[in-house]
């Protein structure tokens, strides 16, 4: 007993030795890093607990979550966000039933009408105009709504780029290349300031929807480019065999090209979703009060002036949490798809 214990310790020691320190230089390096890490974490814990003043965050939590949404109606965005969280958990942990897998997509698609109903009101709920939306609610709304429209548009553009009609091919590749060459802030600027100039007088689109439109136009080009990579990876023989089976052009796209290209492009599509979520923060410079915008307006309040550190660390952790969750869900879907393919 005693011997085996000492052997175990020896084994662990050996393991540590090979892992941490192959030679003297590595031992020194590891020691320096440990010392630096300890001192940094010590001083940051000290700052977080003693030196910082988190009142700027704790007293504004509802502002960060809902912006200037009327206080009596704040349960509505809260219900929406919780339903999204619930769906994410089901997607992540849910069993691999075929029924669930099919209906999960319907569930995700129906989050948008549900969100619109809950946020706007009407039909029994009091109406709230979109200029009162803000905070995390607006950030999530912009992300979900833009990806809802950008995804089909991206598929459409990717297919157009593969089209045998040379004119359609040229137009769509011109659009995709152009959108990918200009900065997002220029597109958003176009959405906020120039779209009203292109509309006939009398017709107005409010700021939130103009932002959604701009994000959709921008992101769809990137999605199309990602899907093109997927489309090109599909072997030509598959299309030939589908043709010889008598499938129509539409059927080939619907059952063979689109599902496979989405599966191949899934990692980059996840990155696009994460990028979109982060990029909604650009609306803070263009006058929407989303999550970062709330932070900016709180910092402009004389009561909290100069507390940049607390606000930015708080915002960074919220963004980090959401983006990491997205990344985990994306990774999970990828693994699930690989497993399904090898099963069938």
């Amino acid at each position: 007993m005693y011997i085996s214990k000492s052997r175990l310790i020896l084994k662990i020691w050996k393991n540590l030795k090979t892992k941490l320190a192959n030679n003297l230089f590595n031992i020194l390096l590891s020691l320096i890093i440990i010392l630096a890490l300890v001192s940094i974490s010590f001083s940051s814990i000290k700052w977080i607990i003693f030196d910082s003043n988190w009142k700027v965050v704790t007293s504004n939590l509802s502002l960060f979550a809902f912006g200037s949404y009327p206080a009596s109606e704040r349960w509505r965005p809260a219900v929406w966000i919780f339903s999204l969280l619930f769906l994410s958990v089901v997607t992540l942990l849910g069993p691999n039933w075929k029924w669930l897998r099919k209906n999960l997509i319907i569930g995700w698609i129906s989050t948008l009408p549900l969100g619109l109903y809950l946020l706007y009101g009407g039909y029994g709920l009091s109406q709230v105009m979109s200029r009162n939306w803000g905070g995390l609610t607006l950030t999530i709304f912009l992300t979900i709504c833009s990806s809802f429209f950008a995804f089909p548009l991206g598929i459409f553009l990717a297919l157009c780029r593969q089209s045998s009609f040379s004119l359609i091919k040229k137009i769509s590749s011109l659009y995709i290349d152009f959108m990918r060459a200009i900065p997002l802030i220029a597109v958003l600027f176009f959405g906020q300031l120039l779209i009203p100039l292109f509309l006939p007088s009398g017709l107005e689109i409010d700021r939130v929807w103009r932002a959604v439109l701009a994000f959709t136009l921008f992101v769809s080009a990137y999605i199309a480019e990602d899907l093109r990579g997927g489309l090109q990876a599909i072997a030509k023989t598959q299309i030939e065999s589908a043709n010889s089976l008598g499938l129509s052009n539409f059927q080939i796209k619907r059952f063979i090209l689109i599902p496979q290209s989405i599966r191949i492009a899934l990692p980059s599509l996840t990155n696009q979703a994460i990028g979109l979520f982060q990029n909604t923060s650009l609306m803070a410079i263009l006058g929407l009060v989303e999550l970062l915008g709330v932070g900016r307006s709180i910092l402009a309040n004389p009561e909290f002036i100069g507390q940049y550190m607390e606000v930015y660390i708080w915002l960074a952790s919220v963004y980090w949490l959401f983006c990491t969750t997205f990344a985990i869900i994306g990774r999970h879907l990828e693994l699930k798809m690989i497993r399904n393919r090898s099963n069938s």
């Binding site: 941490l20 590595n26 900065p183 802030i185 940049y308």
Partner: protein, 299 residues
Amino acid sequence: MRKKGRLFVQFLVLLILIFFVSIIINNLLINLSRIGLGFNFNWLLKPASFSLAEYSFSYNPSNSYAWALFIGWINSLKVIFTSLILSTIVGIIIAFFRTSKNFFIKIISSGYITLIRQTPLLLQLMFWYFVGFLGLKSDSLFPSQNLFNISNQGISIGSVSISSEFAALLFGLSIFTSAYIAEVIRGGIFAVSQGQWEAFRSLGISERKGILRIIIPQALPAIIPGLTSQYLNLAKNSTLAIAVGYSDIYAINDTVINQTGRAIECFLILLISFLILNLLISNTMEIINKLVINSLNKK
């Protein structure tokens, strides 16, 4: 018959597109005349009458709008070029750390990458500016003020000094891009087959020499296209300069629009400046790519 049908479909698409565009342009003309602005570029020669904090060539408010926009373009170029170099250096270091055998270095570098990649760039830029630079005291961090100086006025090394706006943008952009560049480089190195590593090790070639002479030359053709797209992203992201008050091309365009109301013209100028920037970066990278491939083929 089938060929004729295809032509007809394309013609129809073109017709619909032209119809749509002409409606939009018609609306635009109606709206512009209602506001009282036509579409012309004559205003470019009028004096700009705003001052700039940062300029590489002589500038004063009596210079024309065109000159102010050019100064902005040069400012953009300056920040893009410097952070391109800085981000590449940091990216290489981080990629090297990620492949390191030391457990702690690995953890730190992957922590760095997730932290940088999973938070918005705009937030990072604001952090660098408002906390990193404006949070400093007005006097130097270091007692020996002459040689190296960091304060809320910026950084100065000897006689060269950069403003805190430029420094914040440079730091923010470089650190953000370096995390992506590190991933590109790591991907390229992983793309080299494991057999190559085993081969040079079994031949008794030292680790350092093997990586420099055998692995990296083979990884480069996979790395350069990825680097190009990261550099293009860097150029596009540099427009977030407006958040820290650095006068780049987008920020100056914004000021000009606020003064003159010429939104359409300024937007076109912005697009053209970006197309030129993109061409500049992608052509340079194309030349580098060719040089690398040529020099590899020679050996």
